[in-house]
């Protein structure tokens, strides 16, 4: 029900925006909408408290889950379950693992908000993304 309510609020915001009632209202409403959207982005079950560590599997040449949303301060631990080696290398080079053999782990704590795309540099067709959003 909570999510339905949020969705309703977003629709209301859009409706207000579409009526174009002046710059000030649009600005205020747009900011409110942005805040609401940020909250809704955190809604999936993958959202966690900042202290928690989240295990993220690498199986059958894929990151699972491939996309995840967490709060700032969350530590993610990647574990390679394949017989083949993999790596975890962010597109902006802000983090990079060494080669991970079977059962090897790599962890990184996401302190700041943003969208962090990453790949396995051994198999660049393997991609993943971590969305970091304040709750």
């Amino acid at each position: 029900m909570k999510y339905a309510h949020l969705a309703q609020r977003v629709r209301e915001c859009r409706s207000l925006l579409s009526q174009n009632r002046g710059f000030r209202i649009v600005t205020v409403v747009a900011a409110a909408c942005a805040a609401l959207l940020a909250v809704t982005a955190l809604v999936p079950a993958s959202a966690a408290s900042p202290q928690a560590a989240i295990d993220l599997g690498i199986r059958q040449f894929a990151f699972a889950p491939q996309e995840i949303t967490v709060a700032p301060g969350t530590k993610i631990v990647w574990i390679n379950h394949d017989e083949a080696p993999h790596t975890v290398v962010s597109n902006d080079k802000s983090f990079a693992s060494k080669g991970l053999d079977t059962d090897d782990k790599f962890e990184h704590t996401f302190e700041r908000e943003g969208d962090f795309g990453y790949i396995c540099s051994v198999h660049p067709f393997m991609t993943g993304v971590v969305h970091v959003r304040k709750q």
Partner: protein, 321 residues
């Protein structure tokens, strides 16, 4: 370029050849193939791996690939033993090859001790030299830096090179490092520019043999089994009369003939992989087969170049027949 070697109606000859090649492997025989004008012809079969049309002035060399030194999983707990077995067979060839080429994934995890062990093992080959190109398993942590400490062939600090031997121009390329997220790896602009300059020095009648780890044609894009800018490299080779591309990476023998260019992937010396996009498997990971079957799926390749002939004779021989 075709996206799959088995999906194009014009490739029936290759499908037939693959089928015959597989039969040969399972029956314990090697098939001697010659490629003339894009039409493969079987010259005959041997049980010893000796070409039936050996000529005194021919250049013979051996291709090995994907040794994955450092791999210790169920798919092959003894990759060193597999490589040693291949070395023994190469050293026992009645006519020693001029040299050996290794088309990448020398190591499994790019560790210095793996490169070191591989180099020591390859020194057991009784040939003048071994030419390698890097695979993606050789460039895991620091690009080609670790690999080049052991396999910098011409001392230029580069992982691509060329050389001439017996009237044949050989080119080794690195197509494992240059990529964008979610794409296949590529040669990259710097290497394409180098290749353009290199080929400008070579007569079009000179046979070309090109070595690269990942196939220079797209076998199965979802698994990265192809080279994003292969078409640029192959376009540079179009004016030449005889071009043979030798690849590794996919741990099985597949061929494609495109005009004057013949492309061949080789067996591994470590473990088998699924067929491209094989149904029910889903990912290109090591395939574990019964121990008595493994040697039939690993192997080496003998390549013979006869002066004046555009076609090269290839013999793919499994470790166990």
């Amino acid at each position: 370029m075709n996206t799959h070697p088995l999906s194009n109606d014009s490739e029936h000859r290759i499908t037939r050849r693959q089928a015959l090649g597989c039969l040969a492997h399972w029956m314990g025989a090697a098939v001697v193939w010659t490629l003339a004008g894009g039409v493969p012809r079987a010259l005959g079969t041997t049980s010893t791996g000796t070409p039936m049309t050996a000529e005194a002035n021919a250049l013979t060399f051996v291709q090995i690939s994907d040794t994955h030194i450092g791999f210790r999983k169920a798919a092959n707990p003894d990759v060193v033993g597999s490589l040693r077995r291949a070395i023994a067979e190469i050293n026992g060839m009645p006519q020693p090859p001029a040299f050996v080429v290794h088309t990448g994934d020398v190591s499994h995890l790019s560790k210095p001790e793996e490169f070191g062990e591989a180099r020591e093992l390859l020194r057991e080959l009784r040939v003048d030299r071994v030419h390698t190109v890097p695979g993606e398993h050789d460039t895991i942590d620091d690009g080609v830096t670790g690999y080049l400490k052991f396999f910098d062939h011409d001392g230029n600090g580069r992982s691509w090179y060329s050389f001439d031997q017996s009237g044949v121009h050989f080119i080794g390329l690195n197509n494992v490092l240059n990529f964008k997220a979610g794409t296949m790896a590529s040669l990259g602009d710097e290497q394409i520019a180098w290749l353009t300059r290199d080929l400008a020095q070579v007569r079009h009648s000179t046979p070309i043999v090109m070595l690269a780890h990942i196939p220079l044609w797209t076998l199965w894009e979802p698994w990265g089994w192809g080279t994003a800018d292969a078409a640029q490299a192959l376009a540079l080779l179009r004016p030449f009369g005889s071009v043979t591309v030798l690849n590794g990476h996919i741990h099985q023998v597949l061929q494609k003939v495109e005009g004057n260019v013949a492309l061949h992937t080789a067996m591994s010396l470590a473990y088998p992989l699924p067929a491209p996009g094989q149904a029910g498997i889903g990912e290109p990971g090591p395939v574990t087969v019964p121990a008595d079957q493994l040697g039939k799926l690993l192997g080496t390749r003998q390549v013979t170049v006869v002066p004046g002939r555009h076609d090269l004779a290839l013999i793919d021989t499994p470790l166990v027949t």
